[in-house]
Symmetry: C2
Subunit: 466 residues, 2 copies
């Protein structure tokens, strides 16, 4: 296998092939086939997202994939942000369609043409919905599995509120939801307030959750947007307030995608393959029966362990493939990132124990089946350690600089510096080294002199991005 540190990009492609996550040999470049193992992991990620938004009274819906040109064109500047990336359906059978239909690049225009039918009075607010669907971008840049594709597995939440204050409270709720999701996936991140020229088309402002890949390049893995009344005024989404006055709603959105999986693969894996957080591992513990004397009994005993694990809600399986050595199986499941391996031979059977091997630190532990509950703790411990490692990796690759001449030129890192927020100063940094402004750090309030012009600035992040 490729060396992750030295050839991250090659390593990333190789592990996706080896672990059979997706197949990019499909006839259309950038449209990949989700293979069973990759799809299972993504579904577990989806379920974490669902649990977290369902908890906050969001309701799941599913809108059509096609959007008419006139629905889209209601969107003032919004459509401009996408118009070069839209796939257009222009024919049905051999007939030319009267009106061209877009494959959704995102669903504002699909949803907001329905909102006026659903929202009449303040009693209908807040409206909080989401969907998990595919969105489409006619991507001309270089594609890369799970990072830049033309058919994107996408989560989008949309809300409408009585006023801007309530929409702002929604933005805070998104932060809580996000922090819970990121924690489950063991992912480190910064919250960057995107510069105005890089915010979502139509938004008042955009906050992005950015992580760092081992290549030193930044990866946007989530965004939340405050729309204020921008969309409501264009789609005429009004409600009767408590005094009987007609008012525009304020709106927000929250978007996530299969990039979460890209981050999990890239950040946690090692030179042996994937390392999955237990929270999203389709198999959390793989049981490997070791051939030898009394093998039939060993198999029975393994079956007993399996059902004990299932009883305590551990996703476990037995690898009972014939014609494969235990060694082959160890490597195979390590490569697929399973957090714990459970070896069971005649010695374990006779002593009523199991031998548990950690994917992360390779430590072996012989535990009594009376303590089988400990497997749960070991899975939690696995996730904790992954989280620590991941944050550490990001911190180690973040460099604070107070002098533009101190930019590390020989490798990609996350650069932290005071910045006045102007385009000119970020362009100056980009000229010095190929980095762009991710934005000012949202959760910090300290200030200092802009590293370029010396005017008052805020702590901000710069990096090469995917």
């Amino acid at each position: 296998m490729e060396n992750k540190k030295e050839n991250f990009s090659e390593w990333y492609n190789e592990i996706i092939d080896l672990a059979k996550l997706s197949d990019k040999r499909y006839a259309i470049k950038g449209m990949n086939v989700w293979l069973p193992y990759g799809l299972k992991i993504m579904r577990l990620i989806d379920n974490i997202i669902r649990d977290n938004v369902d908890n906050k009274s969001f309701q799941e819906v599913s809108f059509p994939v096609l959007i008419t040109r006139s629905q889209l064109e209601t969107e003032f500047e919004h459509i401009k942000g996408f118009e070069n990336e839209i796939y257009w359906v222009t024919k049905g059978g051999s007939e030319k369609l009267d009106i061209e239909l877009a494959l959704r690049p995102t669903s504002e225009s699909a949803m907001y043409t329905m909102f006026p039918l659903w929202i009449r009075s303040h009693q209908d607010l807040p409206l909080k919905i989401y969907q998990i669907v595919s969105v489409y971008r006619y991507e001309t840049k270089h594609t890369r599995s799970f990072i830049r594709v033309r058919e994107i597995h996408f989560f989008e939440a949309h809300t409408a509120h009585v006023d801007y204050g309530d929409a702002e409270r929604q933005m805070s709720e998104y932060m809580d939801i996000w922090s819970s999701i990121a924690e489950k996936l063991c992912l480190p991140y910064n919250i960057d307030m995107r510069p105005d020229w890089d915010k979502f088309p139509g938004a008042k402002y955009t906050l992005a959750f950015d992580t760092l890949m081992p290549s030193g390049r930044s990866l946007q893995i989530g965004t939340i947007h405050e729309y204020g009344e921008n969309f409501a005024r264009n789609y005429d989404i009004k409600y009767l307030d408590i005094n009987g006055d007609l008012k525009y709603v304020s709106q927000t959105t929250f978007g996530l995608s299969e990039r979460l999986l890209a981050a999990v693969i890239g950040i946690h894996g090692d030179d042996t393959g994937l390392i999955l957080p237990a929270s999203i591992a389709p198999v959390q513990a793989i049981i490997i029966p070791i051939p030898g004397k009394s093998f039939k009994e060993v198999l029975d005993y393994s079956g007993k362990i399996l059902s004990m694990l299932k009883d305590i809600n551990v996703r476990a399986e037995i690898d009972s493939r014939e014609n494969y050595t235990p060694g082959y199986k160890y490597n195979d499941w390590e490569m697929r990132g399973v957090p714990l391996r459970i070896e069971i031979g005649s010695r374990e059977m006779e002593s009523s124990t199991v031998t548990v091997v950690s994917r992360l630190n390779k430590k072996r532990l012989n535990i009594s089946i009376k303590e089988i509950n400990n497997i749960k703790n070991m899975l939690n411990e696995h996730d904790k350690q992954l989280t620590l490692n991941a944050w550490k990796m990001m911190e180690e690759n973040t460099v604070f600089i107070d002098d533009i001449n101190n930019i590390p030129m020989n490798k990609d890192v996350l650069i932290k510096a005071y910045w006045c927020g102007s385009r000119e100063c970020s362009d100056a940094l980009e000229q010095k080294k190929d980095v762009t402004a991710l934005g000012t750090l949202y959760n910090l309030n300290d200030s200092g002199k802009c590293i370029v012009c010396g005017n008052p600035g805020r702590l901000s992040m710069f990096a090469r991005s995917y």
Copy 2:
């Protein structure tokens, strides 16, 4: 509400609106918005399907929605079956695409261009995969929610086998899977071997699962197809057999769609609204606290009942909406088809009981909380009774005739008659009354004289179809 018996079609549309299953006011006719309650029911149906195929070693995948024209055109007669119904993407941004891309009408051509990459030897067989996705038809006929739409929620299983015999065994396995799914949904059906002119394009033969709607019209709710080597020869899907010889695989497919939901709505509902099988009811038991003395204690007691029900895996909820009378709530949940209503007032609290009311027969039963497990039995009983009613309704609306002059002319029914299988004789029946041949009954072997020409025939079904 509309009278279901007299105005089935109006009743059907009305209940979909009232129960908020889907919204058909979207800008594109026949592309509807899945609303939260409808989507929840469909997801529960999907999970029943998943459980049943996962059990039989199928693996879930997800293929791109777009298919190139050349992938499709490999398909000999297959493409002809769809060519008037395909939505074509011809532009990306403002550029004309080099090659036109189809929105999948079904996924043979998407999958079978990948199969040669996945199948090398007999050890890769059988290959058994499925996906649950949307498929698209540029439908020119009158659309109807869940029955005939342009964006269809679809399940498709695809298999490849070493030979025809193994593919035939797969067809039998599909029968078992189907019968288990239909049982869970409490749906009656016949298995009809479609006439040659009505089989799936490219198939050797098609077996359809047909049910009967209360309108007297037949509804196809599932199909399985034997492809033999038809597709393998066109897509060049070969494997090395145990002797090292290259051979074509044999293939089959199994398709289901949101029509399962249409059948559930149409067949089980009544003049009060939906009646959902407990197996797919998002809420199986709704708890309604009755205001009165000690209401706070009644609410606490209701909470206790809720957690007892959750402990025995009953999907239960408390309707704690203020400003609504119990009577309003009873009607609301009846309309939404919840199998059991649990009324809790101070009397129930003081006697440590609950009052359970059946949606199906309105019977009230006061049971002790010590017997709360009985709720599970009552849910099973509900599904049993729904199944009996549904099969009875289909039987009562099936008429066996041995004389073409005895066709009931004034209402739509399912007609059972001996038939030689020829197009001429089915056309003769169609001329007499607007019915088409659904096919010969698959699971029967008795024979008799064709009702039209008098030649040897098999027992067959005729009806107006959706």
